[in-house]
Amino acid sequence: MTDAPDLKPLKTWSHLAGQRRRPSEYEIVSTNLLWSTDDELPWSLSPDMDMNQWYLKYRDGSPLKHVDWDAFRDPDGLVYRTYNILQDGQEAYVDGLLDEHNASGHDAELSAGWLDSLALLYTPARYMLHAVQMSSAYLVQMAPASTIVNCAMLQAADQLRWVSRTAYRTKELSLTAPDKGFGDKERALWENDPAWQGFRELMERALVAYDWGEQFVALNLVAKPAIDEAFVRQLGQAAHRAGDGLLRQLLDAQQADSVRARNWSAALVALALQTDGNKQVLADWVAKWAPLGDAASDAFCAALPDAGDAAAQAKDEAEAFRAGLGLGR
C-alpha cells in the first residue's frame, strides 16, 4: 500500500488522536457516531426509497450548512451517565417538594379562583410539553452530528420529565378539587380554549417543519423560549402572587432544564454562524416563526390572573435570548 498510514499505538480513538489534549469522557463516547453522514447516500438501500429521500431533502439539503457539524460540542458536556446523576438529584428535590407540600395541606389552601386558573393554564400543558418531546425527538432523528443528536435526546427526555410531573399534579389536584375538571378537561381546553390556541398552532406547525435546521429554529429558538417565558416564568409569577408556592418551585425546577437547552442552542447557533450565509437563513426562519411565538405568549398571558404586562415581558425576554445569539429582529 503506497499511502499506508502510520499504524503506531494509539492513546485514544484514531479520530481524536490529532488533538493535543487528552480527550474527555464526553468526547470519547459522544463524537462522530452517525454512520448516515459518511456517504452521499444516507442509508444503504435504494436511493429513491422514502427514507433516503427524506434525509437527502430535510437534512443534507437543508439551507443551513456547515462543513463539519461534528465539531459541535455540548457546553454542558453531558453524557448518559452524568445526565442521570444530575436528574436523579433534581427529581429527588421535586419528590421532596411534593411530599412536603402534600404534608402541609398546601392544596387545600388554594383559592377557588386559582384552582380555576390551574385547571385552565397549568394542567393542559402536558399536551404542549409532549409536543415539545416529539419535536425534540425529530431533531434526534435528523440532526447531522451525534453531539447535536445527544443534546436533542436529553431535551426530549426533559420534556417527558415535566409531562410526568404535570400529570402527577393533575391527579393530586383532582383529589383536592374534584369539581374543577382536573384530569378530565385538559384535552378540550388545549384544543379549544383561546389561552392555548397560540401554543397549539405554534407546536402543530413546528412539528411539520421538517427541514432539520428550521425545526431547530422553530423549536429551540422560538417555541421553547416562548414556553419558558410565558408558561414557566409568567405562570410561575402568577403562582407566587396566588400563594401557590409549590407550582412556583416546580416551574423554577423546570427552568433549570431550559437553561441547558438554551446553552446548547446558543452553541449550535455560534457554530452555524461560522458559515457565510447561515445568518440570513437563521434570520429568515426567526422572522417566520417568532410572530407565532409572540402570538402564543399573548394568548396565554392574557388569561393569567392579574397579568399586568406579562405578555410584553415574555415576548421581550424571548427576543432578548435570540438577540443575544445575534438573531434579534
Binding site: S14, H15, L34, D99, Q141
Partner: protein, 498 residues
C-alpha cells in the same frame, strides 16, 4: 404526608393525543414514517406496555446501574486480565464492539422515530426511555473498549468499524438500515423491539455474559448483564403493537415484518455469537454449543412467544434448523481463510480436542467441515502457510451480504438461488434471503456487494491491496491473523509423532 403511586397518575401522562386543528393529522403523522397500515388512532390509544416505569424511577434506577457497571470496570481496570488474555476471547471483544457500539447509537434515532411518529402516546413515552437506553449502550460500549486501544489498535474498530466499508460492516449496515433505520414507527417496532430484541439480542447477551464470566472477564460480563436489563424493558414495545395490528386485520403484514427482520438478524447473529461460542472461546471455558443455545433460547422460546401473540411459526423454521447446523461453521471457515480482511484475529481452533468436541455437538462435523480443515491442517503441518490463503473471490449474497457457502463433504448440497430482476442477476445464500428480496425489490435492487464493487469500478483497480484499503484494513489497524499463531495444529504433530 405521602407521594402518589405511579399507577395513580400514569394514565394521565400517556393521555397526550389530541386532534390537530392547524395542520392535518396526516402531515404530523405521515404514513410512511408513522403507520402505513391505516389503523385508526383510537386503536393505537389502547396500546398498553407490559412494563411500566416513570421518569423519576428511570433516572434513579439507571444511575444505580451505571454506578455499578462503571465501578466494576474501575476496580478491575488495574487487574492483569488483559495482559495475558487469550486472543480467542480478545477476538470476541473486538468483533463485538466493532459490530455493536455504533449500531446501538443508530438505535437512538430509531427509537426517536417512535417518539416522534408513534401513533400511540404510550409508545412515544416508552420509546423515550428506549432512546435513552440505546444512548447508554452506545456510550458504555465505547467507553469500555476505549482504554484498550493503547494495547491494540484493533480495538479502534469499536468506534471506526461502522465508518468503514469492511465487508462485514456492509452486511451489518445493510440489515440494520433495512429493519431499523428505514422503517416507519410501527413496522420498526415490530421488527426491532420484537423480532430483533426479544428474539435475538437476549440470545447474544445472556450467552455472552455467561461466557465472559467463564473467561474471568467480569467487567464485560457485568456490562452485558446490565445492558440486557434495559433491553428486557424496552423490547416490550413490540408485542402490544403486534396485538393491535392483529386485532385490526393486519396479521399478514405483521407476520411478514417479523419474519423478514428475524431472518436478517439471524444471519448476522450466527456470526457474532455462533462463531465465538463454538470456536473463539477456549474449549475449557465453553458452556454450551451454539446449537444447544439456539434450540433452548430461540427454537423453543421465540417460537412460543410468536404463537402466544397470535402469529405463526415462521415459514422458514425448518430452514433455520438447517442453518443452525451449518451457517456459522461455514463462516468460521470463510472468515478464518480470509482473516486478513477482518479486524480481529480469528483462531482456527480446530485441534484434535476441539474437533472431538465439535463432532460430539454436531455429529458429522468431521466428515463435512472437518474435510475442509484437514486440507488447511495438512498445509500448516507441512509449512505451506501461504496455501491457507484462498485466491478465489467468493460470491456474496445480495441480501445478507455474507459469502455464499454450504456444508462440504458428502452432504454437499450445492444449489443456485438466483433471481433475475430488471436485467440484473442476484445471488442468494438461502431461500429466506431470496424471499426477502422479493417482498420489495425496489428497496434492495441497487445495493452492491463488496464483490460487485470490485467489478463496478468503485474499487479501482481491484487489487488485493486496494480492496483491503477500501475495507479499512491497514488504515484503521492491521487485519487479522490466526489468533493462536497456528498452535492448534500442534496436537496433530503430537498425534503424528505417536
Amino acid at each position: 404526608m405521602a407521594l402518589l403511586d405511579r399507577s395513580d397518575w400514569y394514565d394521565i401522562a400517556r393521555d397526550t393525543n389530541w386532534t390537530p386543528g392547524y395542520v392535518p393529522r396526516e402531515e404530523i403523522f405521515p404514513p410512511q414514517l408513522s403507520d402505513p397500515y391505516g389503523i385508526p388512532v383510537e386503536q393505537w390509544e389502547t396500546f398498553d406496555e407490559p412494563y411500566k416505569v416513570s421518569y423519576r424511577e428511570y433516572v434513579k434506577i439507571q444511575r444505580e446501574k451505571d454506578s455499578s457497571a462503571y465501578s466494576v470496570k474501575a476496580a478491575l481496570s488495574r487487574s492483569k486480565f488483559h495482559d495475558d488474555l487469550d486472543e480467542g476471547w480478545a477476538s470476541v471483544l473486538k468483533l463485538h464492539y466493532g459490530a455493536v457500539a455504533l449500531t446501538e447509537y443508530q438505535a437512538c434515532q430509531f427509537q426517536a422515530r417512535m417518539v416522534r411518529f408513534g401513533p400511540s402516546p404510550s409508545m412515544r413515552n416508552m420509546a423515550t426511555y428506549g432512546m435513552l437506553d440505546e444512548l447508554r449502550h452506545a456510550q458504555l460500549q465505547l467507553f469500555f473498549p476505549h482504554e484498550l486501544v493503547s494495547r491494540d489498535r484493533q480495538y479502534d474498530w469499536a468506534h471506526e468499524a461502522a465508518h468503514t466499508k469492511n465487508w462485514a460492516v456492509l452486511g451489518g449496515r445493510h440489515a440494520i438500515d433495512d429493519i431499523m433505520m428505514c422503517r416507519d414507527a410501527v413496522t420498526g417496532t415490530i421488527m426491532v423491539s420484537f423480532a430483533f430484541e426479544t428474539g435475538l439480542t437476549n440470545l447474544q447477551m445472556v450467552g455472552l455474559s455467561t461466557d465472559a464470566a467463564n473467561m474471568g472477564d467480569f467487567t464485560f460480563a457485568n456490562m452485558i448483564t446490565s445492558i440486557q436489563s434495559d433491553e428486557a424493558r424496552h423490547a416490550q414495545l413490540g408485542s402490544p403493537a403486534i396485538e393491535i395490528m392483529i386485532n385490526n386485520g393486519k396479521k399478514k403484514e405483521a407476520q411478514q415484518a417479523v419474519d423478514v427482520a428475524f431472518w436478517r438478524m439471524w444471519r448476522l447473529f450466527a456470526i457474532t455469537v455462533g462463531i465465538p461460542m463454538d470456536y473463539y472461546i477456549p474449549l475449557d471455558q465453553r458452556h454450551l454449543s451454539f446449537k444447544e443455545f439456539m434450540h433452548e433460547w430461540i427454537i423453543r422460546q421465540y417460537d412460543r412467544q410468536v404463537r402466544d401473540l397470535g402469529l405463526e411459526t415462521p415459514w422458514y423454521w425448518d430452514l433455520l434448523a438447517d442453518d443452525i447446523e451449518n451457517h456459522h461453521h461455514c463462516q468460521q471457515g470463510g472468515i478464518w481463510s480470509w482473516r486478513p480482511t477482518v479486524w480481529w484475529n480469528p483462531p482456527g481452533a480446530v485441534g484434535p480436542r476441539e474437533r472431538e468436541w465439535l463432532e460430539e455437538k454436531y455429529p458429522g462435523w468431521n466428515d463435512s467441515y472437518g474435510t475442509y480443515w484437514d486440507v488447511i491442517t495438512d498445509n500448516l503441518l507441512h509449512g505451506r502457510e501461504e496455501k491457507t490463503h484462498p485466491e478465489c473471490i467468493p460470491i456474496i449474497c445480495n441480501m445478507c451480504q455474507i459469502p455464499i457457502s454450504n456444508r462440504p463433504g458428502e452432504a454437499w448440497k450445492a444449489r443456485a438461488l438466483q433471481l433475475e430482476h430488471e436485467g440484473r442477476r442476484y445471488n442468494f445464500c438461502t431461500e429466506p434471503c431470496r424471499w426477502i428480496f422479493t417482498t420489495d425489490p425496489d428497496r434492495y435492487k441497487h445495493h452492491l456487494t463488496i464483490v460487485d464493487r470490485m467489478y463496478s469500478g468503485e474499487i479501482d483497480p481491484p487489487t488485493l491491496d486496494n480492496v483491503l484499503t477500501y475495507m479499512g484494513i491497514g488504515v484503521v489497524s492491521e487485519g487479522g491473523r490466526d489468533g493462536h499463531d497456528y498452535s492448534w495444529v500442534d496436537g496433530f504433530r503430537t498425534q503424528a509423532a505417536e
